[in-house]
Symmetry: C2
Subunit: 218 residues, 2 copies
């Protein structure tokens, strides 16, 4: 086929992005079988690009091969979430620390501060909007820290729990905002250890909230 559509991307890439989006927004629930032909028909392409897309999903941890064939959308277990938050804590305390020594911290983070304040003053934002800001903020802090590798690692870890974030703990919205503000303020005040502590507290609180939610689902 001709391919090379408007976005100068391959069908495999677009298939990957579309499937990833479907997983992250919950359209494809954990456990869903990723049958190549089914999604080939759905996306209007052949199995080949779908195959490539599924391979990428697996390498990002969003899908898994259980017994050897027919991959499924990953069901992230509680212990896996704990491990991810643990690893993120190890990495992100450092990025917060390093970001606090960056010269561009203020100009980079002020827009985030404004958006969060908007959340606090205005109407409750859609969970998706807040989730996006959350992801962008953590990534931007890693970028300020100056390590491309840490950016990649943190982004990869964060996406794995992204479908779990999605508004599943609404009572975390306000605390999350305040914690993010504390992190931003410590970084822009160039206080590395305060920033690291704020990040650690934030991720610990997320962890506690998830545990509490598991124990008392309603």
């Amino acid at each position: 086929m001709v391919a090379m559509n408007e976005s100068t991307k391959t069908l495999g890439d677009t298939a990957f992005q579309r499937l990833k989006a479907m997983i992250l927004d919950g359209t494809l629930e954990p456990g869903t079988l990723l049958r190549e032909k089914k999604f080939a028909d759905l996306l209007g392409v052949s199995r080949t690009p779908v195959r490539e897309a599924i391979g990428l999903l697996i390498s990002e941890g969003l899908a898994r091969r259980v017994d050897g064939s027919t991959p499924v959308v990953s069901r992230v277990s509680l212990s896996e979430i704990m491990e991810i938050l643990h690893a993120r804590s190890l990495l992100e305390c450092e990025t917060a620390r390093k970001a606090a020594q960056s010269m561009q911290a203020v100009e980079t983070l002020l827009p985030f501060r404004a958006r969060i304040l908007g959340f606090l003053e205005g109407p409750r934002p859609e969970s998706r909007v807040h989730s996006d800001l959350d992801a962008q903020l953590h990534l931007e802090i890693a970028r300020l820290a100056g390590s491309k590798l840490l950016c990649e690692l943190i982004e990869g870890l964060k996406t794995r729990t992204r479908m779990f974030d999605q508004g599943s703990i609404p009572e975390r919205l306000l605390p999350g905002c305040y914690e993010h503000l504390a992190i931003i303020d410590a970084i822009t005040a160039q206080q590395p250890e305060t920033a690291a502590a704020a990040m650690k507290l934030h991720l610990t609180n997320v962890r506690e909230a998830i545990i509490a939610r598991i124990n008392h689902p309603f």
Copy 2:
């Protein structure tokens, strides 16, 4: 084709493993173009499994797509090595700390201790042998720490610099042995902070050695 050879693995997997081995042992130098047909002929399979193998190599960071097509074996820059060692330090100080609280530490690590002592007493081992032990030891410590995720992350980071390890700094052999012993002893003595410090020192020394080697190549 019939496939399903003796090892019950797909051709794609075996192609991946063979290409990976060729990259890690230096047969395929950084910058080598990974042309699908070339390696399909070389491995005696069609382009399809080679394509899958290359995708896996890219997802592991061992290969890259530079401008959009024709992937190449990754050339790991000095700054990337520094970033990898930095990230490993963040993760592995923690695994050392946690491993020191594990009940199976002694029985797991004593064989490593014996092998390292063998290196010190007997003839100088091949660099590949030492490199393998190095990788296994760091992985085993992560396993003792009890986090599957940390195992995966550390293993992934370590393989990215593996082709760089390969005997490129022979004068690190002895110090490396002693540092490994110090880590093992601290862990088996159940001293978490000592273990973390030993790990940090080890990775810092590796870093210093690489920098020194860059500045004084001979």
